[in-house]
C-alpha cells in the first residue's frame, strides 16, 4: 500500500526553523513505521536523519512524535496510523537534525538520581539474596529502556527543562524500592528539591506514552508517598 508521510525536516546548516515535507512510501500494512522511514531514506531521500538501532523495541533509539503522540517507530504498525502519517521529533530537546534530538540532558538527569546499587554493608560471599515479594515491589520500573517517550510527553517538563522528568524518576524508583539498596534517602532528598518529584502534576501522558507499558505515574506516586509518609 501507499502511505503519505509528513515528516518534520530540519537541517541546521540550511534551515532557520523546521518545516514539514511529504513523502510517499510503498509498504505493507503490517510494516512498522520504521520500515516506512527506511523506505524514504533508502529509496527517496537519503538525507533524512533519524535514530534507530535494534528495531525491536528494546534499545529505545527511535522514539518520536507519531500523529502527535510519543511512540517508538519500530513498535507501531503502518495500518494503525491512518494516512497521512505525521512524524516529528520529541518535544523539549534541542534539535540536531530532522528527527534527531540531543539526548544528553536527558541522560544527565538519569545519572543525577544515581541509577545503580548503593549498598554500604560488606558484600556477602555469594549474591545478595532477595525474596520474590521484595523483587516484585519494583518489577514494573525495571522495564525502562530510556527512550524518553515519557519525559518528552510531560507538560511540566515542557514548561521547565530542569525538572528531572518521569524517566529519571522511574529509574530512581527501581532502586529506592529495592530492599538490597541503601541509597533511598539520598535519592529522595534530591527528589524533594525544587525540580524534583513535586513538579509532577499527574497528567498521565507519561503512562500513555510508555512503549514498555510501565505505569509511570503510579511509580511517581510511589515516590511521592515515600516522601510524604516515609514508607518504603
Amino acid at each position: 500500500m501507499q502511505v503519505t508521510l509528513r515528516i518534520q525536516r530540519f537541517d541546521p546548516e540550511r534551515d532557520e526553523k523546521p518545516h514539514f515535507e511529504e513523502y510517499q512510501a510503498d509498504v505493507e500494512p503490517t510494516d512498522r513505521l520504521l520500515d516506512a522511514l527506511n523506505y524514504v531514506k533508502w529509496y527517496v531521500d537519503g538525507s533524512l536523519a533519524y535514530r534507530r538501532s535494534c528495531a525491536h523495541g528494546i534499545c529505545g533509539s527511535d522514539a518520536m512524535r507519531v500523529n502527535g503522540r510519543n511512540r517508538l517507530a519500530c513498535k507501531v504498525l503502518v495500518r494503525d496510523l491512518g494516512n497521512p502519517i505525521t512524524v516529528a521529533p520529541m518535544l523539549s530537546f534541542q534539535l540536531i537534525k530532522d528527527l534527531v534530538v540531543d539526548m544528553e540532558p536527558f541522560f544527565a538527569k538519569y545519572r543525577a538520581l544515581k541509577p545503580y546499587l548503593i549498598a554500604d554493608d560488606p558484600p556477602p560471599e555469594k549474591e545478595r539474596l532477595q525474596s520474590p515479594v521484595d523483587r516484585e515491589r519494583y518489577e514494573d520500573t525495571t522495564k525502562c529502556i530510556l527512550c524518553a517517550c515519557c519525559t518528552t510527553s510531560c507538560p511540566p517538563f515542557w514548561a521547565n527543562g530542569d525538572f528531572y522528568g518521569p524517566a529519571a524518576i522511574v529509574n530512581a524508583h527501581r532502586f529506592i524500592f529495592d530492599s538490597r539498596d541503601h541509597g533511598a534517602d539520598e535519592r529522595l532528598a534530591t527528589l524533594n528539591e525544587r525540580n524534583g518529584i513535586w513538579r509532577c502534576r499527574t497528567v498521565f501522558n507519561c503512562t500513555e506514552a510508555c512503549p514498555r507499558g510501565i505505569k509511570v505515574t503510579e511509580a511517581m506516586e510511589d515516590v511521592k508517598r515515600a516522601l510524604m509518609l516515609r514508607n518504603i
Binding site: 503522540r69 518535544l91 510527553s153 507538560p155 515542557w158 499527574t202 498521565f204 501522558n205 503512562t207 508517598r225
Partner: protein, 128 residues
C-alpha cells in the same frame, strides 16, 4: 478522544483523560485567581470610602454580570472536585490506576452541584 492543547503546550495529542483534567484544572485555577485579584481590589475600595465600595458592589449586581458569576461558580466547583481527585491519586495507592473513572466521577459530581446552582443563579434574570 483527541484534542490539541494549543500554544506552548501544543503539538501533542492527548490520549488519556488525565491531560484534559489537568488542562481544565489549570484553566479554572487561573480564572479563580484572576477573580480573586479583582475581588481584593474591589474590597479594598472600602478603605477609600463606602460610596465607592457600594458602587463596585452595585456593578456586581447588574444582570450583565450574572453569567460571569455562573462561570466563576463552574470554575470553583470543577477546581475543587478535581483537586480532590488529584489528592486521592497522591495519597491512595491504586487511585492512579482508576484515574479515568475518578475523572468521570468528578464530571458527575460537577453536574450535580453546578446545574442546580446555575439554575438558581440565572432564574432571576428570566423570571421576575
Amino acid at each position: 478522544m483527541q484534542a490539541q492543547v494549543s500554544g506552548v503546550l501544543g503539538r501533542y495529542t492527548a490520549n488519556k483523560l488525565g491531560m484534559y483534567a489537568w488542562a481544565l484544572h489549570r484553566l479554572t485555577g487561573i480564572g479563580v485567581i484572576a477573580f480573586l485579584l479583582v475581588h481584593i481590589i474591589d474590597t479594598a475600595f472600602v478603605m477609600v470610602g463606602p460610596e465607592l465600595y457600594n458602587e463596585a458592589m452595585a456593578l456586581y449586581k447588574q444582570p450583565f454580570f450574572r453569567p460571569f458569576e455562573v462561570a466563576l461558580a463552574a470554575a470553583v466547583i470543577y477546581h475543587a472536585l478535581n483537586g480532590i481527585r488529584v489528592t486521592l491519586i497522591d495519597f491512595w495507592e491504586g487511585a492512579a490506576r482508576i484515574q479515568e473513572r475518578l475523572f468521570y466521577g468528578v464530571l458527575v459530581l460537577f453536574a450535580l452541584l453546578f446545574l442546580p446552582s446555575a439554575f438558581i443563579m440565572l432564574r432571576p434574570l428570566f423570571v421576575r
